[in-house]
Subunit: 335 residues, 3 copies
C-alpha cells in the first residue's frame, strides 16, 4: 500500500546511492535504481526500498518488483533477481533511516490547506483541527479534541473531549469517547548502533461506520498498512489495539483487552475483560474469549476459549477442577 | 431513580402509540398510556416505559407500577396486570429507541444557565466549565479540564489537567488526577436490526468526599442508576470502574484493576494491581484481593482471595505448590 | 535527596515544637531542633524530620543525622542517639501533616519566572508551559500539552497532544505520546484518624535521553527520591510505572505492564504485554518476561520467566503441560 500523503510528506525521490549517502549508510550497491518509497518486503512495488531481517528463506519472500532491499550478507542469495541487494548488519535500522529520509510524519500543526468542516458540524472552540482534515455533516468535536492533519471524519461522528486522532480515516456514526488516542505510532523496537531505536510507522487507522470506542483507549496506526476496526464493532474503555490489527464487524471487546500486532479478529467475536492476544493470531468469526484469557494460538470460529495460556474453556475448567480435587484429597493425609 | 435533568434533556412526554410511531416500532398495543420516562423493569414507576429481554419469569420481576414494557412474545404472560405489553423481537433495542426519543444527553457545550463558580475557586483559563455546572469553594480545575453541563464539584476538590467529567456529582476534598474520565457511557451492547448497537446510559456517577482517583482512570456512569465511589476510597491510575458499580468507604484499588458492571465492593476492601472482577459480584467488607486475581464469585467479608479464577489465597497457593512438586518429582524419571 | 524546590515551595523552617503545634500533633518532645525538611528515615540529614511505621528494628535503620523522627511508642528504643523521638500512634500520617506544613506542591499555574523556551522550539498555541519550566532546542509541545512549573524538557524532545507532565526532568530526543501523564502522585495510602489518607509524594521523575513512552501511559513521581527511566528504554501505550521504580537502559516494556513501587528493572530487560511486577522486586539485566506474567520475586539476569506467580518459563510450561496430560488421561475413565 502506498504511503498516504495526507499524513506523511514525501520529501522527494532519490537514486539509491544518493539515499544511502544521505543516511550515512556505507554499503556498496551494484545498481543505482531510483527510490521513491519504502514498503514491507512482500508488498514492494517498483521504486520501493524494503528490508529483510532474516536469512535467505525470508529474503525469498521479497516481491520481485522491489527496486532494492536491505539484507544481511548471508541472506543475499535468497533475494529475487532484479532486486538490488544492500548488505548491512542491521537491515531494519537501515530501512528506518531511509524511510525517514523519504517521508516525514506531518506534525500536528503542519501547514497546509484549511480543513474542510461541514457547515452543520459542531466543533468546540477549544478543539484543534489540522490542515487538510475533513469533518462531516453533523459531526461533533468535543472540547480539547485534537484532529491531526489530513484526518477524515464522517457524518454524525462524535469525538469526545481531549481525544487525539492522527493518520486516520474515521467513518460515519462513529463514537470515540474522551481521552482516547487513535493513530499514534505502534510499538516497534529495533537495534541500532547506539542501542534501542523506534521503528517508524508509516500506516493508518481505518475506523468503519457505527464503531464505538470507549475512553482512554489506544489504537495504533499500521506499520506500512492499516489498522482496521470493522463496522459496528464496540470497544470498551482502556483497550489497546496494536499496529496492523484487523477487526471484523460487530465484535465486542471489553476493558483492558490488548490485541498485539497483526492479529486478526473475526466478525462477531466477543471478548471479556483484560484478554491478552499475542501477535499474528487469528480469532475466528463468532469466537468467544473469556475474561483474563491469554491467547497464544489461533482460535477456531465459534469456539469459546479461556485460561492462560488459553485453550477451549471447558478443557480449562476441567483442568482447574481436577487440580482443586487432587489438592483437596491430599489435605487430610500427608503427601 | 428518575433521570437527572441536569444531565439529560427531557424532550416531552408522549402517548405510548405516538412514541412507538416516532420510533418506527410497528407493535400493536391494547392501551395507550402517557409515557414520560424510561427505567429498568424492576424500578419502574407510573409513566415509565421499561423492557424485559428474557422470558415470563423475568417479566414477572417488572414493577406493577410500570406503564408499559417491551417484551418478547413468549414473555407477555409473566407481566404484572396493568402493565401494557409491547411485543417486539428486540426489547432492549426498542427501549433504546424510546429512550432516545424521550431524553437527550446534554452535549458538552449545551446552552443553559452560566455555571456557578465560587469566588474562591481557581479555574485554569483553558479549563471548560459547562452550563449549569457548579464549582465549590477553593476548588481547583487544572488546564484543559472539561467539566460537563450540570456537573457539581464540591469544596477544595482538585481536578487535574485534561480530566473529563460529565453526568457526575463530585464531593468535597476529592482529587482526580490528569486525563481521568468520569461519567462517559458504560459499555453496553445489544443487537438491533443492522447489528451491534450501543445501549444508552441514563445514570450518573457519585464520587463522595475525600476520594482520590489516579491518572488515566475511567469511571462510567450508571445505566439507569448511579455508579458510586464511597468516602475516602483511594483509586490508582489506569483503573476501570463500570456502570452501576458501588464501592464503599476506605477501599484501596491498585492500578489496572477492572470492576465490571453492577458489582459491589464493601468498605475497606483492598485490591492489588490488575485485579479483574466479573459483573454482579459482591466483595464483602474488609476483604483483600491479591494482585492479578480474577474474581468470578462473591468474596465473603474479611477473606483474602487470589488466583484466576479466584479462591481463598491459601488454597490457591496450596494448589500452585502441589503442581510444582508433582512436576519436580517427575522430572528425573520418565512420565 | 533534598526536595526539589523547582516543584515544591518551601514554606520555611520551624522549630520542632512549633511545627507539631501547626500540625495539631499533641506529642511531647525532649528536644526542639530546627526542622527544615522531611525525608525517608534511612536518608535523613540534619534538619530532616522522618518517620518509622514499624518496631525498634525498623527504627534502628534511621539515619543518625536525622533531627527528629515520628515513631510508635514501642519503637523509640531502636532510634539512634541524637534523633529526637516524637511518639505518635500513626507515624506516617503525622509525617504527612508535617510535610504539608513545610512544603507545598506547586500548582499547575503557580506564579514564578516566565518559562525559558528555546527560540527553535515549537510550542503549540494551546499547550500550557508552567512558570520556571525550560523547553530545549527544536523540542515540540503538541496541542493541549500541559507542562508543569519547573519541568525541564531537553532538545528535540517531542511531547504529544494533551500529555501532562509535572515534577519531571525530561532528557533530549525523548518522545512522549498523546495523553500520557508523567509525574502525578504515586499511589500511597495510610490511615489517619478519619480513615484512608493519601501519602504525599515529594519526589520527581527522570526520563533519560532517547526514551520513548506510548500513549495513555502513567509514570508516577517518587515518594522522596526519583522514578527513573533509563536511556533508550522504550515503553508502550497504557503502561503504569509506580513511584521510585528505576528502569535501566534499552529496556522494552509492552502494553498493560504495571511495575509496582520501588522495583528495579535492569538494562535490556524485555517484557511482553500485561506483565505485573510486585513492589520492591529486582529484574536482572537482560531478563525476558513473558506476556501476562505476575512477578512476585526477583528474576536473575538473563533468565526468561512467565506464569502467575512467575517462575522460569520452561518450568511454567512443563507444569501447564503436565496438568493437561493428567486431565486428558482421566477423560476416558471415571476419576
Amino acid at each position: 500500500m502506498p504511503i498516504d500523503q495526507r499524513f506523511y510528506t514525501h520529501q522527494g525521490s532519490q537514486s539509491l546511492r544518493t539515499l544511502l549517502r544521505l543516511c550515512n549508510i556505507g554499503a556498496e550497491v551494484d545498481q543505482d535504481p531510483e527510490i521513491s518509497s519504502i514498503s514491507a518486503a512482500g508488498a514492494a512495488k517498483a521504486g520501493d526500498l524494503c528490508f529483510v531481517e532474516g536469512g535467505p528463506r525470508q529474503a525469498g519472500g521479497t516481491s520481485p518488483d522491489a527496486s532494492a532491499c536491505f539484507v544481511k550478507e548471508g541472506a543475499v542469495s535468497g533475494l529475487p533477481d532484479g532486486v538490488t541487494a544492500i548488505v548491512v548488519d542491521q537491515p531494519r535500522y537501515a530501512h528506518k533511516l531511509a524511510g525517514e529520509a523519504l517521508y516525514k510524519l506531518k506534525d500536528w500543526d503542519a501547514d497546509g490547506p484549511a480543513p474542510s468542516i461541514d457547515a452543520t458540524a459542531n466543533v468546540s472552540t477549544s478543539a484543534r483541527i489540522g490542515s487538510g482534515a475533513a469533518i462531516g455533516a453533523e459531526a461533533r468535536m468535543g472540547p480539547g479534541a485534537v484532529i491531526g492533519p489530513g484526518v477524515q471524519i464522517g457524518a454524525r461522528t462524535v469525538i469526545g473531549p481531549n481525544a487525539v486522532i492522527r493518520c486516520a480515516l474515521i467513518g460515519n456514526h462513529v463514537k470515540i469517547y474522551a481521552n482516547t488516542v487513535i493513530g499514534e505510532a505502534g510499538f516497534g523496537v529495533t537495534l541500532g548502533p547506539e542501542g534501542a531505536e523506534d521503528v517508524p510507522q508509516w500506516g493508518r487507522v481505518i475506523v468503519q461506520d457505527f464503531v464505538t470506542i470507549g475512553a482512554n483507549a489506544c489504537i495504533d496506526r499500521g506499520a506500512f498498512d492499516d489498522t482496521i476496526i470493522g463496522e459496528r464493532t464496540k470497544i470498551d474503555n482502556l483497550v489497546q489495539i496494536a499496529h496492523n490489527v484487523i477487526i471484523g464487524r460487530n465484535a465486542a471487546i471489553a476493558s483492558f483487552t490488548g490485541i498485539s500486532g497483526t492479529s486478526t479478529i473475526g466478525d462477531g467475536v466477543a471478548m471479556g475483560g483484560r484478554v491478552g492476544i499475542a501477535d499474528h493470531i487469528n480469532i475466528g468469526a463468532g469466537a468467544k474469549i473469556a475474561a483474563s484469557a491469554g491467547i497464544m494460538k489461533d482460535v477456531p470460529p465459534g469456539e469459546t476459549w479461556g485460561g492462560i495460556p488459553a485453550k477451549p474453556l471447558r478443557q480449562y475448567f476441567r483442568e482447574v477442577t481436577w487440580v482443586e480435587k487432587q489438592v483437596a484429597a491430599t489435605k487430610k493425609k500427608p503427601a
